[in-house]
């Protein structure tokens, strides 16, 4: 059965040598030994040592761009939450005055204000990170609601035949209405605030997730191997966990990863149309909108460039990581 690497190397070396009569034949035979019969091993399929999560991680790790993006996401997320506790932190809402009591208006980046100040003398460095924090919280919250609600509803939708029509009709209605209109209406009707913006942004996303999940469940639940499992008396929870879940993991992670950048850029959209968070809560949307006018003034461009850079980095990284993980977690890609 099992050969150590050294043993394989030894075999290959010997096979490469020109055969000398007699001597080699004896040695080749002695290299092999009969494997013992073992009932445990007999249960294992051809791909010995296959483990779902190990393969997923292995494939993911091979994608260097995605690994880099993952590290970047983790560091940005950690930094946004650590930043308020760093020494020399300035309150993002505080208006800074110089000795003569004047606002530090539109300062260029300096040691005192790492990213300069805005038109009323607030520190842009801390504002940007506070904004990134708000946006990330919104992104993660929307993504979580989306996924939890979507997966739960999708599984119910896929498994129950009685209320299937209800979901289908609901989906048809929402699918026919342009998403932008729903978003605009929802953010208008709900008064601005972090909680309401999360609610508005997660209004329809879960339905799309639910449909994805439902389609997968319907496709997979009647496959032969599930039928076999059922015949063999496998408990339902184990069928769900080891027969169904691996096929859903890729869909779920993809949706989860994509929901974050979508929510973050939707927040910018809602701010752009003037229905976003109030100005006293810094968010990337707010910062970018208030920076738009500064673009025409070349000396003030850093005021929008920095939040825009953070925003784009976060969305690009989530996009790349989501796609890479979806590819890696798809069991069909595991055969190599």
């Amino acid at each position: 059965m099992a050969f150590s690497n050294n043993k394989i190397k030894a075999i290959v070396e010997r096979l490469d040598k020109p055969a000398t009569k007699g001597y080699d034949i004896i040695h080749r035979e002695s290299l092999f030994s009969r494997a013992k019969t073992s009932p445990g091993l007999a249960e294992q399929p051809g791909y010995t040592g296959y483990a779902y999560w190990k393969s997923t991680l292995n494939i993911f790790k091979r994608n260097t761009v995605a690994m880099f993006c993952l590290v970047l996401i983790i560091s940005i997320t950690l930094f946004t939450f650590m930043q308020p506790f760093l020494p020399g932190h300035k309150d993002p809402a505080k208006i800074h005055n110089n000795e003569s009591g004047m606002h530090y208006r539109n300062q260029p980046p300096s040691l005192q204000f790492l990213m300069g100040t805005n038109s009323i003398g607030q520190d842009l460095w801390s504002r940007t990170w506070a904004g990134a924090r708000t946006s990330l919280v919104i992104g993660f919250a929307v993504s979580t609601i989306d996924t939890v609600l979507g997966v739960a509803m999708g599984i119910i939708w896929g498994f129950s035949r009685k209320i299937e029509w209800l979901f289908t009709e609901l989906y048809n209605i929402f699918d026919n209405v342009p998403q932008t209109i729903l978003l605009i209406l929802a953010s208008y009707i709900l008064k601005p605030g972090i909680l309401t913006i999360i609610l508005a942004l997660s209004l329809t996303g879960w339905l799309v997730t639910a449909r994805f999940i439902r389609n997968q469940v319907v496709i997979i639940r009647n496959r032969d191997y599930n039928l076999a499992s059922r015949c063999l008396g496998t408990p339902v929870w184990r069928m769900m966990l080891s027969n169904l879940a691996p096929y859903l993991v890729s869909v779920i992670t993809l949706r989860m990863a994509m929901a974050v950048p979508v929510a973050i850029s939707d927040e910018v959209f809602v701010s752009y149309i003037g229905l976003g968070l109030p100005q006293n809560i810094p968010s990337l949307g707010n910062l970018i909108i208030s920076g738009i006018d500064k673009l025409l003034e070349p000396s003030l461009r850093h005021q929008i460039a920095f939040p825009a850079l953070i925003l784009s980095t976060v969305t690009v990284c989530f996009y790349v990581v989501g796609n890479a993980f979806a590819d890696a977690s798809d069991p069909r890609n595991h055969i190599y």
């Binding site: 048809n172 209605i173 699918d175 026919n176 209405v177 342009p178 932008t180 209109i181 605009i184 209406l185 208008y188 009707i189 950048p261 973050i264 850029s265 910018v268 959209f269 752009y272 149309i273 003037g274 229905l275 970018i288 738009i292 673009l295 025409l296 929008i304 825009a308 925003l311 784009s312 969305t315 690009v316 989530f318 996009y319 790349v320 796609n323």
Partner: protein
Amino acid sequence: MARYIIRRTISAMVTLILVSSLVFILLRKMPIEGYFHNFEKLTPSQINIGLENMGLNSPIHIQLWRFFSNLLKGDLGVSNKYRINFPISKLVAIKMPTSLFFGLMAMGLSLLLGIPLGMAMARSATSQNRIKTIDIAGSAYITLVQSIPKSIYHLFIQIYVTELVNKFTRLPFLYSANNPKTWVLPIISLSLSGIASYAMWTRRYMVDESSKDYTLLARAKGVSPAKISSRHIMRNAIVPLVQVMPSSFVGTFMGSLYVESRYSIPGMGGLLVEAIKRQDNTLVQALVLIYTALSIFAVLAGDIAMAAADPRIVLSKGGTR
């Protein structure tokens, strides 16, 4: 086929009525301050008269009935805030052609560049070369365009490209109807995401198709790779693309909020947002209805187009086309 279309149309009408009614009711729940520009100065009786004049005092189902019965006469009502007493149908007729022009130009450009890019990427991805340059470059473009928020790249393209061009010749930042030079940048901005999504789907479907048996057979027969991809694979890969085309066509009616507002193009883009902000309920109502109807129509047209492009798809159950 006919039965299928009828069934779909009926369910579309039901959706349309449901959505319009829902929006109608939700809008009536908004505070009444928004209906008046000088609310603080008005006496209760003046407010009452104002509400009466706008027809807002009747019970909600009567208002709803009034709205739908006017609609059947082809009357979308008049705007009550955005342009006071201006017929909405006229307003839309003025604004829509501009959006339509830019949208169609951008869509044409996306198709013209996106599908060949996707084909080139697919050929590069399935080729024997070790380094798939075109595929990598194309994927990088798609990733960037799809993941960087539109709000950001539209903005930066407008400022930086205009500045760059201004070094050689004069190009204004904003759109002007009689200067075709100012139309180019908005069209390019609008088409970037379309190019990316057409390229992405074309590539994906073509890669999927290229591992099918008929492709293998064609290769075994010795058909040249260029011919395989254009004659065999593309015909199969185009089917799902045909389905989304009506949707992107209809999308052009709505205009793009970002591009139109950045270049101050007088199109449909910001109309809904503006109407909502000013609580112009009749306009919001009419626009939601128009957009929803267009979007329903687009999905239906997409399904029919797909059936027309692929003889294997039969839409009605048990029937033949």
